[in-house]
Subunit: 400 residues, 2 copies
């Protein structure tokens, strides 16, 4: 195939999101070495901005050289030792993945399950934590497979009451929803670059607080992964600048530029933008007679909108229609929700007025194409009304 | 810092090497989704080219979403089970790293050591393999820390005589030296993108043959890493195209383009080019009165040239002079060779006549700067003579 065969896409799936030309340009700069003094300065700058975005002073705030799932694995392999009692909050695919990774690390895993599309009951999690000598609690803040925002405060308090450490998966919330590591007393948090930070996938921002680093130092067994061992990574990201592995230079250029964009917009403005476009999309979806998977509006992610597929509609055909006709990518369901939902991401630079109107229009067209029409124009009209209720306030909303 | 503060560099260290503008341009294309039909086509194309470059028909030939060291870890975690007897050939840092990773996976590790700068004695390795129920043998083909090319045939034969599987680290040889997985009967081989393939770092090409996949299927314990589990990765890279993790899209664009350049040049022409410039550099270095770390010319890597630092010369000051004055990056020594050697990489697009002449000239200047002059002009003159002995034959040598 030739390069010209790569079609333009409107990225409204569960990630990657739209990457700004500034970030693409930064990424394509000629390379420098991973121990070059100039590169070390870029690392410093990136760490400083990551701390700002994660609202933390944690020294060990950096990027794992892998995607978000590598960030998850880095959290687990460093914190968990064989035999540890680990409580995992499972409300979707990424909670399941945390449990699976903890099991592979030899943990005694206690899962606390919830209905997919609801939050997991914090009381049930607290009971599970108190039910034994819990060492680690792992919880997904923004469950990308269901669109649920899980409240964390009660879970973190219950964990710390037992001297258990808390790992938070914030892959789909960082940069789109408030995530405040220090104020919330999160011990380890990881994210991905390709969601609300609007950077290409390939790095996983991660942060360990001193309590977590202390726990890791006291391990009685070595960390099973050499590549993800935070003690070794500290040698490179810390003052020593010792060679560990070759950092993905171009991805680091991209992340620095993407974080600059986040900091220029400002976190508050960015959260408001995500919320505004989410609310408009929901208004449109509901006006079309469709249902959100997450019933409680307060538990819905602003960055990832899960919509129930109406009875009799071929969900994959709708996605294909959106992709082939309009070049719009949205996601399908995962696991038990496969075939049941569409997942529309409004993440980072993809969260724009234009994209809300576009995807509602295209969804309407896709339903017409299946002879399952929604009330004509109702979705777009409702979205416009919702957008007018919360008028554009920030300069951060750059429609494409 | 501003973007303009990133200075141009001539990349002659142990990687990253020079990345062609074509590859940078491909990398900076707007993103598409990791399950987009167009992206799946790019994956197919990349796998086909990787098979070509690795001289293999192995179905499971793909790229790990991490750097070369993640490729190493993927080989170990999939092939090694706790308690397995694993023989590791150690002639430098990367052999040590293989041993360390195998230990962390619970293996009973037998190392066969060699002097740094010499090959490890294949007879000694064969004896170690025969000394017990060896399950896996791991060996570095191109030891980046010493500049040694390790002969593999006898080691592979000894391993297979015992039904042990062979992991080959070809990070610094793939694309610069012949690497023929099928003809040599290598079971698992991994590489990096930022060496002789001249792609930015961030992916690790890897290949498993059927014997290796069979062994993995028969494991009695789960692979300890979820992120690197080849059984799960098969679901994404194979026919199912099942979601595992989000592939680093932009890096995949870059790798595809970098592999196209390799295939356009042709493997034979590319190897000859690497050999030619290596020989010219060695001629220059020796004419300057310097010594190669690897005494036997037949055991020297063409892609990575380790040069002894003469007595009384401050090696770090030379590297700083090259970087600050000429913008040239070369590497220092690692481990016991720290302070003892310089490492000059002539990898992929960095392996050019121009770079040979330039680095010899700059090295001469750096020695003058320390009042330790080499015979004036002798290095460059010898390199020119060597280059004229093996005249330019291919169009693949694109000087910058």
């Amino acid at each position: 195939m030739t390069d010209s065969a790569i079609p333009p896409r409107v990225l409204l799936g569960p990630g990657p999101s739209t990457v700004e030309p500034r970030v693409l340009a930064a990424m394509s700069r000629p390379l420098i070495g991973h121990l070059d003094p100039e590169f070390l300065r870029i690392m410093d700058d990136t760490q400083a901005m990551l701390r700002q975005v994660l609202c933390t002073d944690n020294r060990m705030t950096f990027a794992i050289s892998g995607t978000g799932s590598a960030g998850m694995e880095a959290s687990i392999v460093n914190l968990v030792e064989p035999g540890d009692r680990v409580v995992v909050v499972v409300g979707g695919v990424f909670g399941q993945r945390l449990a699976e990774q903890a099991r592979r690390n030899g943990a005694e895993v206690i899962t606390v399950e919830g209905e997919w599309g609801c939050i997991v009951d914090p009381d049930a999690v607290a009971s599970a934590i108190a039910g034994g000598d819990t060492r680690v609690v792992a919880v997904v803040h923004a469950e990308t497979s269901t669109g649920v925002l899980q409240p964390l405060d009660q879970i973190i308090a219950a964990a710390h009451a037992q001297d258990a450490l808390v790992i938070v998966d914030a892959v789909t919330s960082v940069g789109g929803h408030p995530v405040q590591l220090d104020a919330w007393e999160v011990d380890v948090c990881y994210s991905g670059t390709q969601k609300c930070l609007s950077c290409p996938p390939g790095l996983a921002p991660i942060s360990f607080n001193e309590r977590a680093l202390e726990r890791i130092k006291e391990r009685s067994t070595p960390v099973r992964s050499w590549y993800l061992d935070v003690g070794l990574l500290e040698g490179y990201w810390g003052q020593d600048r010792a060679y560990h592995h070759t950092a993905p230079i171009s991805m680091a250029f991209a992340l620095q530029e993407a974080l600059r964009i986040v900091c220029e917009e400002g976190l508050e403005a960015r959260y408001l933008r995500h919320r505004r476009h989410h609310l408009a999309l929901v208004a449109g979806v509901e006006a079309m007679g469709l249902q959100m998977q997450v019933a409680d509006p307060g538990h819905r992610l602003w960055s990832l909108n899960a919509i129930r597929v109406p009875e009799g509609v071929d969900e994959a055909r709708v996605r294909r229609h959106l992709l082939m006709r309009y070049g719009i990518e949205i996601g399908g369901g995962l696991g038990p929700l496969a075939g049941q939902i569409w997942r529309i991401g409004l993440m980072g630079s993809s969260s724009t007025e234009n994209n809300v109107l576009l995807v509602l229009g295209a969804l309407e067209a896709a339903l017409v194409e299946q002879d399952r029409p929604a009330p004509p124009g109702a979705g777009v009209a409702a979205a416009i009304a919702a957008l007018n209720v919360t008028p554009e306030e920030t300069s951060g909303d750059k429609s494409p």
